[in-house]
């Protein structure tokens, strides 16, 4: 490989566009963090007004994990439908790993807030049950990947399992939380379709959610390329 013309031409470590996007993401996240602490008004409805600012991170991170698991499902379907390319499978696996990190952070930040607001770290609120099941489902996905030796079989079976996740996820995120009484604050977009929220709080939540979604795709892209480089070597 060292003598091929493509390898001798020096390429910059990062293309200019990527650098610009990274700088934008950095500024965006900095603005979201600043706004969460300084710009958004305190949420007076809660017992502990200061600690409620953790929600500006908890909700966007939970949203980010949902996006990650959705992306993992879509990449798995792409793998199954479009010629079974290993890179699609790898993209799904990396998305699940990152989604688990997001999911764990959402669980922890939720538990901390739950302790301050409700008085206990854990009380099996329907949404807490759902997030535990999501954690277990995608941890099981990784366990399945570890339990199959043949690479082709592993890709096929784990893609099918992740696609099954696309069916279960709506139940975990939307049906079960409504089945029983929940202490969770009303979802932003509730059954009546109105957004009962201060506009500045809403802006910060949307900004931070966009930021965390972009952060997921940024880290995903880095990890994915790193893993592919490692596998080709």
């Amino acid at each position: 490989m060292e003598n091929s013309p493509a390898a001798t031409r020096r390429r910059p470590a990062l293309p200019a566009l990527t650098l610009a996007l990274a700088a934008l993401l950095w500024l965006w996240m900095a603005a979201a963090i600043w706004a969460a602490f300084a710009w958004a008004p305190p949420a007076r409805g809660f017992q502990n007004v200061v600690s409620s600012r953790i929600l500006f991170f908890h909700v966007p991170i939970a949203w980010g994990s949902f996006v990650a698991f959705l992306a993992a499902g879509v990449w798995s379907l792409l793998f199954l439908a479009r010629g079974r390319r290993p890179r699609h499978d790898l993209a799904a696996a990396v998305a699940v790993e990152l989604g688990l990190v997001f999911c764990l952070l959402a669980t922890l930040s939720g538990a901390i807030w739950s302790r301050l607001e409700w008085g206990a770290f854990w009380n099996w609120d329907p949404r807490q049950t759902s997030i535990v099941l999501a954690l277990v489902f995608y941890a099981a996905y990784l366990a399945l990947r570890g339990a199959v030796d043949d690479a082709e079989t592993r890709r096929r079976l784990s893609a099918a399992y992740a696609a099954l996740g696309l069916v279960v996820a709506p139940f975990l995120f939307f049906v079960l939380p409504r089945l029983t009484f929940s202490l969770h604050p009303e979802p932003v977009i509730n059954a009546e379709g109105d957004v009962a929220m201060d506009s500045r709080i809403l802006i910060v939540l949307v900004t931070a959610s966009t930021g965390f979604t972009a952060l997921f795709f940024w880290v995903h892209n880095l990890a994915w390329r790193l893993r592919r480089a490692g596998e080709e070597r």
Binding site: F137, L157, L172, L179
Partner: protein
């Protein structure tokens, strides 16, 4: 269509024929259920007459059923791989026929288990049932969901290592939503309350498991 039905029926009949020879699944399921039933009965006594019983006992009934089926249903496909008959089955029937034939076999096993376990359980703990029809509907819909999820997961784990553990790990997140719904419905059946939205949600969950399972099964089944 009629050929498909014949193939699915053949898979179903074949499974019962080989089950009749060895009775492995029936023995495992039955004995497991019987031991846990005796444990519950000895440990709790006639709890059904108290108010706490109507809360706790529906959950225990489904716990017994769930663990008994997870002791027997993983064998649906593991057996084919162990006796090296999977390839013959791949040649003999199309994937969707295999899926529905296996699902029907798992469903009939689960229903047979329920027919024995549920009356015994209700009698042992002396639990009165306010709405018997709702209980029957819940048991049937729950059995279908259990069988559908188990069929998909059993097909996956048959091709992996550490099958028994892996089945529990993979099926748990699929079965817990089902368990929450059927326990809720069984409580309603016991106390005599109407089913509410839970029955529709249970049927929806059953349907989506079966549809997703039959769509994904060809990918899982064919190497």
């Amino acid at each position: 269509m009629s050929r498909w039905l014949a193939e699915a029926a053949a898979v179903f009949a074949k499974d019962w024929r080989s089950e009749a020879r060895t009775r492995t699944a029936l023995n495992t399921l039955g004995l497991f259920a019987l031991t846990t039933l005796v444990l519950v009965g000895v440990g709790l006594g006639p709890l059904g007459v108290s108010a706490a019983g109507t809360q706790v006992l529906p959950f225990l009934l489904w716990l017994v059923l769930l663990f008994a089926t997870t002791a027997g249903l993983p064998r649906l496909f593991v057996h084919e791989e162990e006796t090296r008959t999977a390839t013959a089955l791949r040649l003999a029937a199309r994937p969707s026929a295999v899926f529905w034939g296996k699902l029907a076999h798992g469903l009939s096993l689960t229903l047979a288990l329920q027919v024995i376990v549920t009356p015994l359980f209700l009698a042992m703990v002396q639990l009165p049932v306010g709405r018997p029809l709702l209980l029957v509907a819940t048991l049937a819909a729950g059995a279908f969901g259990l069988a559908a999820a188990s069929t998909v997961i059993a097909a996956i784990i048959a091709q992996a290592r550490g099958r028994a553990t892996l089945f529990a790990v993979l099926s748990f997140p699929l079965l817990v939503p089902l368990l929450l719904l059927v326990v809720e419905l069984t409580r309603n059946a016991v106390t005599g309350e109407p089913a509410g939205d839970a029955l529709r949600q249970l049927l929806l969950y059953d349907g989506s498991l079966a549809v997703a399972g039959s769509m994904l099964f060809p990918v899982i089944w064919n190497p």
